[in-house]
Amino acid sequence: MAKTLDSDLAAPDVAGQPTAKVRRWRTASWAPVVVLVLLCAIISVINPNFMSFGNAQRIAQAAMIPLVLGIGATFIILMGSIDLSVEGGLTLAAVILSLLTLNGANGNDFGILAVLAVLIVGASVGFINGMIHVYFKVPSFMATLGTWFMGVGLANALLGGMAVRINDPWIRGLAIERFLGFPWGAWLALVCLAGAFGIQNYTRLGRYIYALGGGEELAVLSGISVVRVRIAAFTLAGVFYAIGGILAAAQLGLGNAQIGNGRLFTTVTAVVVGGTALSGGQGSVLQTLVGVLIVVVLSNGMVLMGVPPSVQIGAQGLMIIAAVALSIDRKLMRIVK
């Protein structure tokens, strides 16, 4: 019985979903692109320097970390959950990387093993998020609020308030060395995007994440193991935050406990502005790319126009409200908490 139910529901779901969804969301998923193009046009009219190759390099440099973080968060938001532990995972990853690789504070020099260890740390943070969320049945925003501060606290405890210089040329090279004019980190972020796109569209995990976000009751009835999908998604997101941590450490050339400050904000803004709905089920990592570019281009434009950087957080806050207000499907939610 369960088996027939499974195959009956799963087959039309896989076959019928893309056409219906693509048609319905064509306008909504193109709106952010239009915003991005308009934004670029307006800024280049005000300041022609915007369209230079040098500025494109600056934008790539600024976009690489938000892109990697945003990709991770997209998977969580697609499920209709939220991950507030971005800064916790990133800070912990950056600090552990700075302690394990060739650095100015201790004698460690584990090279590629350090990177591997950091990826495992990121995965564990995500795994813990998922376990708390699923097994204690704690809403994701509370579970990840806790792990956010635990991650940053642990990073602080490891460093005791210091900052550790990173001397490993390979890691510094991610931000400094260039390939075709763009830093290696930006290429790495694009590789992450390609990988995430593959996971999202061509694996079972990706389809199940969409299914959970679209309607969890239905997903359960079609035999999807919600527990496993949720834990896997949080773990995956944790790995992306760790990659973000590696890039952040490379960009700053050091690891400290403040390295993550403000990054949660940019991440959530980028995902939501890109058009991924907080209610889940609708969106894509490609839309997150557009969202990241909107956020980065806007802050780049503000710098070109001489607006102080501290205004940017406020502008992002207003963007979150506007984007969520425009993208939420209110018919689906009668009670908003």
Binding site: P139, S140, M142, W148, N156, P308, G314, G317, I320, K337
Partner: protein, 319 residues
């Protein structure tokens, strides 16, 4: 009857566990450090709890409704900056101005939440960005120390009455006002009703949206008051003054036994929760735990308390 007993146990656990925990913690610290139980130390403990308690009281109103306010720390920091910038010109008016801005900010996040139907955690997260940004711009990203003259206006915070620090009196007044609001007014009853079951409250004619906006106004208003008090105690205002207080505040509410699903809770519970948090912090400082690393413990305490108090029958799907 085993199910009934089980439910009773769970209910009484939530009722009494916070108080028992507090007494145990105080005894424990007292055994290791007998000077902790002296009246002067306990008064110091109460003064240190006051700001946390005021912050947590505000957010209790929102949590009672089943929402959350993630902007209180930014609001408190902004209020401290406003006081530091204007106290020389406006005198006592600067405190009123800071709290008025709090009320406006609360109104804004409340309206964003109910009119645009944005989930509260995202609306207040966005609002915290706007507030933090305002504080950074106004203060030019610096910490502003209050001058000798300005400190004269702060005696209502820093002074004492018959040896009793004024901060404790402020905390007590907040407790009384919040308790009356919560237990003696229509707003308090409607909040509990909305938290217990929003569709039922709506169906019985409660103006749900209006009550929610009131709760966010109270939350931001009390957060601003906390910022004002904090600025007085530290004799400075800074855009990051209260940055580390979001987690302890929410933890205080939840540890006290107020469920984040709403409906169950009280200001007394928040008071107990805030005292627990302060005793734990003092205990950890005594053991030599770095103040930033203490967040590891608070994060774990928060998750544990949420897991115990949450009412899972209200959320069939945990997202």
């Amino acid at each position: 009857m085993p199910k009934f007993i089980l439910q009773l146990d769970r209910e009484s656990l939530r009722q009494w566990l916070p108080l028992v925990t507090l007494v145990l913690l105080v005894t424990l610290v007292g055994v290791f450090q007998p000077s902790f139980l002296r009246p002067s130390t306990l008064l110091q403990l109460a003064s240190d709890t006051a700001v946390l308690f005021v912050l947590a009281t505000g957010v209790t109103f929102v949590i009672m409704l089943g929402g959350i306010d993630l902007s209180i720390q930014s609001m408190a920091s902004l209020a401290s900056v406003i006081v530091a910038l204007t106290v020389a010109r406006l005198g006592y008016g600067s405190f009123v101005l800071a709290i008025a801005i709090g009320v406006v900010a609360g109104l804004a996040s409340g309206l964003a939440h109910v009119l645009l139907k944005i989930p509260s955690f995202i609306a207040t997260l966005a609002m915290s960005g706007v507030l933090a940004s305002s504080a950074l711009v106004l203060s030019k990203e610096r910490s502003i120390t209050l001058g000798e003259l300005d400190r004269g206006y702060q005696t209502w915070i820093t002074g004492t009455v018959y040896g009793l620090p004024n901060v404790i009196i402020i905390g007590f007044i907040v407790l009384v006002i919040a308790h009356i609001l919560q237990s003696q007014t229509r707003f308090g009853r409607y909040s509990a009703a909305i938290g217990a079951g929003e569709p039922a409250a709506y169906a019985s004619g409660v103006k749900v949206d209006r009550q929610k906006v009131y709760a966010y106004i109270l939350s931001a208003g009390f957060a601003a008051l906390a910022g004002v008090v904090l600025a007085g105690r530290l004799a400075s205002g800074s855009p990051t003054l209260a940055a580390e207080m979001l987690l302890p505040s929410i933890a205080a509410v939840v540890v006290g036994g107020t469920a984040i699903t709403g409906g169950v809770g009280s200001i007394w519970r928040t008071l107990i929760g805030a005292l627990i948090i302060t005793v734990v912090r003092i205990g950890m400082t005594f053991l030599g735990v770095n103040i930033f690393a203490q967040n590891i413990v608070f994060g774990a305490v928060l998750i544990g308390a949420v897991a115990i108090t949450i009412d899972r029958s209200k959320i069939p799907i945990v997202k």
